[in-house]
Amino acid sequence: MSEILEDISPSSSSNDKKVVDNPFPGLRPFKIEESHLFFGREGQSDEVLLKLSKHRFVGVIGPSGSGKSSFIYCGVLPILYGGFLTDTSPDWEVVVTRPGAGPIENLAESIVSRDPAYIAADEEEKKIKKTIINTLLRSSSLGLVEAVLQSRRSTDKNYLILVDQFEELFRFKDSDDSTAVNETLAFVNLLIEAINYSDVPIYVAITMRSDFIGDCAQFPDLTKKINDSHYLIPQMTRDQKRRAVEGPVAVGDAQIAQRLVQQLLNDLGDSTDQLPILQHALMRTWGYWSKYRDRQDEPLDIKHYEAIGTMSEALSMHANEAYDELTDDQKLICESIFKAITEKRGENFGIRRPTRLGEIAAIADVSEEEVIEVIDKFRDPSRSLLTPAYHVPLNAKSMIDISHESLMRIWVRLKNWVDDEADAVQMYLRLSEAAAMYQVGKAGLWRPPDLQLALNWQAKHRPTLVWGQRYHPAFERTMIFLEYSKKEFETEQRIKELQAKRRLRNARIVALVLAAATVISLGFLVYAFYQKTIADKARVEAVDNAKLAEKNAAEAEAQRAAAEKQREIAIQREADAIKAEAAARESEKKAIAALSEAERQKLRAEQGEEAAKESAEKARIAQKAAEEQRKIADTQKEAAQKAKEAADKLRMLAIGKSMAIKSTQLRNEQATLKGLLAQQAYIFNSENGGDQYDNDIFNGLYYAIKELGDPLVESLGGHEKGIRAVASSTTGNNIFSADTQGKILKWSLKGEHRVADTIINSRLYHLIRSIDVSSDNSKLVAGGEFPQVAGTTYVEIFDVNNNQKRTISGFEKEVWNVIITPDDRAFFTLDNDGKSIKRSDFNNVSQVAATSVRLNDIALSNDGKYIVGAGNNGKIYLYDGNKNYAESVIYDNGTKVLNIAISNDNVIGLGDERGLIKVFKLFGTTSPTRLVGHSSPIEDLKFSSDGRFLASASRDKTVRLWNRSNYTAQPIKLDDHPDWVFTVAFSPDNSQVLAGTKEEIVRAWPTDIEVMADKICGKIDENMTQDEWDIYVADNIDYEKTCEQHAKGK
């Protein structure tokens, strides 16, 4: 971005040769050493020098491509070096810099590379020196003065700071980077202070495009300087342009045909920004002429000019040459580069968009080296189609730009790319918009033709994250939306194909049947022909028989007389028939009367149907009201959560929780880190007095030890169908589970290992819905859908110790619930579609209560005196054993109650169809506590016998453990279930909770977080690295070992 011009010394042999070879620079500006080739602006330098001398500042301003830089380099600087500036020393040192993306850094480099010591130094030293100057410049607004003073070698030396392309300060400014604004200001201040510092003669010249003059207004000091001293570069007259064409040709010791000069001037026209194009065309014409001229003294002529494609085509052809040199892979990269650094504005109007090399590499999804290789082709000194100039080394931060805007108008390929890119962006934006709408539920997935267009777009442009984020931040969401749309559509197509296949198969069947029928018919046809020939023969014979027939006719006459007699008998019969008909008519009349009666009945039935419809309408309105209630409940739930978040401001706890959550989101391969995060989260939580039953900490630990393969969280296998009953007593060490195919298993808990004994194997038609065990674990009662014998069904009693089974019959329909009394002497059941509560003393069965409505569940109080029932109508019924189980309503929930449980201290928990749980004291006066969390109906509720928890199982595939001492705390959410959870039970010591699911899986969950926390350190062998600590914990919290016994991770 910057360069140092040594004292003018046209001795550089390589440059010399080049100048002689081709006197036209092309798109780049003239260099200082090319001033002998610079024609057309003679006499304009004086004014600039005068202003510079008077104000120590001059701004050379002009439109793009008007030759500002060339004018300064070749018109002004040579005179300056020649010492023609009066009032001051003739010894000048010129520092040329371009602001680029880092103006101060570039200025520092320009200054430091003036120093001969710097040029001689090695890389490391260069870097140090550069950093010193850079720091100096940034340290104060007098930094530039100090830097010049430091490197000043003689006292009467004048300094000219030439800031070329000053507008880059505004163009390359990264709008995302807030420091960029400050850097621009600092840079301007450096320049202004340097001018104002009278002790050291520092002069400043800037060249700037006139369309950026407005941007300067934000710096008042700079504005003042520009107002005092600026030079608006005049447009060249036709004569001056002619000199600019003919001069270099003459220097190059050649002639140019007048008609070519005229042609060039005509093609050039009046527009100001065409000078680089002219220079480029002349450079190409010269190159072509010097290579292909017919004879030595042939002048440059129109044919040479036309061969390179004239001004309108030359640039395009030149660019294509560069493009054709690329390999196929590089061509793709090239396309990405040019698409990245251009942008379409309006209908037919492309603008430049300088972009960092690193970003381009990310967009093209290739390495920076590959990009640099391609860029170098285009910024070759003979081409200069891209900036920075060829000698400037490129790195990730280099700003890549098109050297001249007209390239976008002239190079057809680039024009197409710009259009193509614009189309791609448009498609991307449409897609992003659709994805956003889809996310909020305002639009659906895409389908063809939109989907197909989007897929084509994806295949063609292969959009990368960086590319996408230039235009719309939600790139990943957009691509997921597209992917999802595609999958959804493919699934639909597959279903259609299957249907088509099925239709085809049906058609085949029909064809087969028809074919079979055809074959059979053909057989008949053949046979018919065969019969016909036989018949023909028979006909001949029949003629012979005719004669015989005549003889028989006479005999027939006699028969006719006999027949006559028969006819008379028939007439008699007919009379009888008429009588019978009259009787039939009578019957018909009766039938008609019956029909009209039936019509009346039908009418009444229709009226009944009308009434039924009205009822349905009312029900629908009621349901709508219920829906509104649910919405209100949802908003209340949200408010509660927000309040909780606001309260939860303790940072360590927050970090702990976030770590626990992060740990659950880590991938399976990162099991060790997952464990460390969960363990550290646990440590933070417990050290900082967090909730000992915190859900996030729990889940973090659970998934970590699950990932580390700990047997504690392994599920209990052995069943073949869904499990609807698990049970345990409060003593001993056993848990029982029963599935819907009649299998019952007894689990012995040996630490974290569980061993199963089969009490009874699978049996068809033995769908067990409820089991209970006696307190000494010796008896198990199972009820459910069992075969009926003579209209009654039975429950099964198992002697657990020796697997003996017996049955007690006398139950109606299905047994939904079995509860053994606390004294183990009897059990209660709920049967007959929830309409009957029965009691059995293990021998006889008697009904204790016939319920007024269907009960969905019953529970028995700890003293065995009260039965509570969950009514299908939403009411809670109490059956008081002291009053012969008389029924009374103790609570009305309003919504269908599916489950009920009662704790040892007589607290009732109920779960309803909305997933809401309510808890209240039996015979208490306070209103129920509502436990909100489940999103689907509740399937089971259990209180732990130690009073710590209420466990709830739901069809939303979760079990929640509610902390009874703090119902407002978030419950532990156990969500690792494959399907609905039907049933839960606590282990006898309450250390585990067992959940039976609709699939054949019983899950085991520890209830104490500590149990899980102790396991992790034994399963891993190192601690977090410092980097991991900084990322997942915080870099301002001191590192501590998560597991004391392991070393810090490396």
Partner: protein
Amino acid sequence: MQKVNKAFYVLLIIVSVTFCAFETKAQTACTQTLRQARTVFDEGRIHELEQLLSDCIDNGFTDDERTEAYRLLILAHIYLDETVKADDAMLELLRDNHGFEINQQADPAELINLYNTFRHDPIFFWGFRGGFNTSFVNVIEAHGVHDLNNSNASYSNQLGFVVGLLIEKRFGSRITLRSDLQYIINTFDHSFSTFRRTDTNIDIVNSTASETQNSAGMSLMAQFRLFPEKEAIRKNKFEKLNPYVGLGVTGRYILSSALTFDVSNSAGASPDGASEDLIDAEIRNQFNPTADIEFGIKKALGLMYFTAGVRYSYGFLDITDRHYDNGRLTTFFGWGANDINTHSLTAFIGILIPQYVPKKLTK
């Protein structure tokens, strides 16, 4: 007149297209409804399903979608303990989709138990079939007025046809009983030589008497399946053909038996042929029972079955009642009826159509 016709056809097309468009739209909406129902079921809010699905079940689902919808609805009723509704929905499903089968491994026990309380197998099959046969003749004793020792008499078989209606009922997983009504045509030739006509004194060198019998038959057969019945998805390729062997009897009643002569004499001239019905002539017995053995396959085609096979029928009675008609056959052609048994081999193809009448079985 023609114009009116044209307008009518255009109107018909417009109405059909509009109807189809509404139909398609309804179906798309219902496809979405089903998708939603799956989600609702998965999330356990099954009490919402009945209302969600009812409209589309009545009208709008494709056949497969309706089956799935019923399945979801049945499961919802089961888990809501609405047994009557679950029974009703299962009955509707079985009436709607006769081929509905449960998956013993994957379906919940609740659904399997309910399904098994319904009669879901076809109560019987009916169908029709047809084929070709060929007859074999076994001579018990030869008769004739020609020189029996030098006649070189022989029988050769000819092609015949069979068509029939049949009805089948399964008993257990292997045994099937079948009864069918058949119309059978079978033909065989009887060739003999050496005879001098007394009226013309011409030597007849060769005579061929071609006999064609038209019979009605009714058969009863017990079939034994080589593989027991089981779920379609668990059958291998050969099991899917459902091969069987059958044993049975057929009572045939010969309606007519036409005998036609083709005679050539030594001079090369052909005298008048003659045709005679052997039933009218009381030469043949009308009742001809056979014992049958059959091998065949029944391949499912959608809900129907394609059947094919071969059957060998063994005629164990002598079908000749009288040996001479004492008329033209004896006098002109020197033909006498041999005592014979006829057997036949039949190859057939056909279609079997199951009749389902699903109902709840009482326990």
